[in-house]
């Protein structure tokens, strides 16, 4: 039974949210009725600050997983609407279906034409049902590839926003070649003849994330996660106990900081204290600046150099032991 209790981190988070609501309520009342409430509020503000420091100074990996999945976290459409202008959505893979879980669009970023792709997670149940919780079918990945081919044709950069629990694990998705679609995208992105910048904004769920996440620069929000398997899945397989997800989250090294240290992520984009959803504008500003900087730098690199660098970057990933019992190259 203890396993079902909310985690301490989540407890702290809820306490903080309650406190903030109470403070807000008091402040509103103070404004509306011109009643001074400073004395009443002061201890609450202090307690909230303590909680914040406690939680967000050193959030546990499991707490970061919760932040990454936070329902009010900025979504693709928020980034697109704020960072881009002249957005024109492209639909369909020209083969089977238009997949609403994955968005592709022509747009301008700082006035420059770009092609944007991304997992289209929603913020509420209705949106999420319509967009399958940001879990694409093969046709979503094939639409993304079609959009990337357009970017390649016109030599416009691709910006990819990653936020998915994973590729949809359904029978029809399997039948239509989920694995093939992901493999194809990974391969084609590894040699796409135009710059690709990836921003992992929320959940980077395994192959379903990687299918649009191979790029020249892979940026990651501070409280996003990127993992080969969900902590719950990992715990279930390793320890036959999904409730040990907290332990798995720590073991999997799925935070931006960890992944930067492992060389998988090129830059960690700091989030506002408490998470991106607490100050979306600050988050957008951070992402905008980073995107601008990376696109600027990539724009001047000759394409063959860019492709060699991209290849070498992925080529180097991983850690191996090698005995020198034979000479190699």
């Amino acid at each position: 039974m203890t396993e079902r209790r909310p985690s301490p981190a989540a407890d702290l988070d809820r306490q903080l949210a309650d406190l903030e609501q109470e403070i807000d309520r008091l402040r509103r009342r103070s404004r509306e009725h011109s009643v001074p409430v400073d004395a009443e509020i002061a201890p609450l503000v202090e307690r909230a600050e303590q909680l914040r420091v406690q939680i967000y100074t050193h959030p546990s990996p499991w707490h970061i997983v919760q932040l990454a999945r936070q329902s009010q976290r900025p979504r693709l459409l928020d980034f697109l609407g704020t960072l881009c202008s002249d957005v024109m959505e492209l639909h369909g893979d020209r083969l089977y279906r238009d997949d609403p879980a994955l968005l592709a669009a022509l747009a301008r970023f700082n006035g420059q034409p770009v092609v944007v792709i991304g997992h289209n997670k929603g913020k509420d149940t209705k949106e999420n049902i319509a967009r399958n919780f940001g879990m694409p079918y093969p046709e979503g990945y094939r639409k993304a590839l079609r959009a990337m081919r357009l970017a390649e044709k016109f030599r416009y950069p691709v910006i990819s926003f990653v936020d998915t629990p994973g590729a949809y694990p359904g029978d029809e998705a399997e039948e239509r070649g989920q694995a093939e679609a992901i493999a194809r995208n990974i391969q084609e992105m590894s040699r796409l003849r135009t710059p690709v910048v990836v921003v992992i904004t929320g959940e980077g769920g395994s192959g379903g994330a990687l299918a649009i996440a191979v790029g020249d620069a892979v940026l990651m929000l501070q409280y996003a996660v990127y993992t080969v398997i969900s902590p719950e899945g990992c715990a279930a397989i390793l320890w036959h106990d999904a409730s040990r997800a907290r332990d798995a989250a720590a073991a999997l090294k799925l935070t931006a900081e960890d992944l930067h240290a492992l060389g998988v992520v090129d830059e960690v984009l700091p989030e506002p204290f408490g998470g991106a959803h607490r100050d979306p504008d600050a988050t957008f500003a951070t992402v905008r600046e980073a995107l601008q900087r990376h696109l600027q730098a990539l724009r001047t690199v000759p394409i063959e150099v860019l492709l060699d660098r991209r290849y070498e970057k992925y080529r180097r990933m991983g850690r191996i032991l090698e005995e020198s019992t034979q000479s190699i190259e």
Binding site: G177, R184, S206, T227, C234, L252, G318, R319, L321
Partner: protein, 274 residues
């Protein structure tokens, strides 16, 4: 399979004389069930005798994340299989045709792809490229190796990119899916073959049956994700019984690679235009 004179077929439950089973390439003589093979067995029944020259025998995964009990599991697997890792790669010939061949070993931690498997596959592709030889990979894997976290996921990118370069150079790559080929390996090199073959009855898919059934809240049909099912769904080129695999590969190698296999003809092939 435990040792002993008799082996029990997991499908038809018959007891088979082990020598007979071996002679039949571990295909059940009663029901044609294709028993799983180790990587060593796979190479033995596929390559010409004594033709295999292994690459990177000493290359193994380490424990990059400090993941609970991973080093122990690695050691166990190494002891059990007498291999350093879940894939064997090297050069070898099939009816004389030169190849770079890799075989994943499901008996080594479920054939999972960690850094070492990715590295060996990528190197095999690069060597095939450098020597202008066809690449041939037998997959048998449960997916990524979660004990290496995202580093194991990155092996999908590494191997797919290496095979992309092979493709750009106009060099052939044949993929053979054996039982089981699931997860990350399917979402990378296994599905990127110029020609994709599979053994009869092999389980092939990205997501696991249980996860799918939980998601869709229905039972899946018995034949779901079998090689034959995938063939019908247009995902594979051929399902080839093990006893005919060597000759099928030999013909394919002759077809795709013949001009490059005669030692005299070493001029570079024209670059492919994808």
């Amino acid at each position: 399979m435990p040792a002993g004179i008799w082996a029990k077929c997991p499908r038809c439950r018959n007891l088979i004389y082990r020598k007979e089973l071996e002679r039949n390439l571990k295909v059940c003589p009663k029901c044609s069930y294709h028993h799983r093979l180790t990587a060593v067995e796979r190479l033995e029944i596929t390559l010409d005798e004594n033709s295999f020259q292994e690459y990177d025998a000493g290359l193994a995964s380490t424990d990059p994340l400090g993941f609970e009990s991973y080093p122990d599991k690695l050691s166990e697997a190494q002891a059990k299989t007498e291999q350093a890792e879940a894939v064997l790669t090297g050069e070898g010939t099939i009816e004389g045709w030169r190849t770079v061949t890799g075989a994943l070993d499901f008996y080594f931690m479920g054939g999972s792809m960690g850094s070492a498997v990715g590295e060996k596959v990528a190197r095999a592709a690069e060597r095939a490229h450098a020597q202008r030889l066809p690449l041939l990979i037998f997959s048998a894997s449960g997916g990524a190796r979660m004990q290496e976290g995202v580093l194991s996921l990155m092996q999908l990118a590494k191997t797919s990119a290496a095979i992309g370069r092979l493709h750009d150079a106009g060099l052939p790559y044949l993929s053979v899916m054996c039982d089981p080929t699931t997860g990350g390996v399917t979402a990378s090199f296994a599905f990127l073959g110029d020609v994709i073959l599979a053994e009869p009855g092999a389980l092939i898919g990205f997501a696991g049956r249980r996860v799918i059934e939980q998601t869709i809240r229905r039972k899946l049909p018995e034949d779901f994700q079998t090689a034959e099912f995938c063939l019908q769904k247009g995902l594979l080129d051929m399902v080839v019984p093990r006893t005919e695999m060597r000759s099928a590969l030999s013909r394919l190698l002759a077809f795709v690679g013949a001009p490059r296999l005669v030692p005299v003809q070493i001029e570079p092939a024209p670059a492919a235009q994808p």
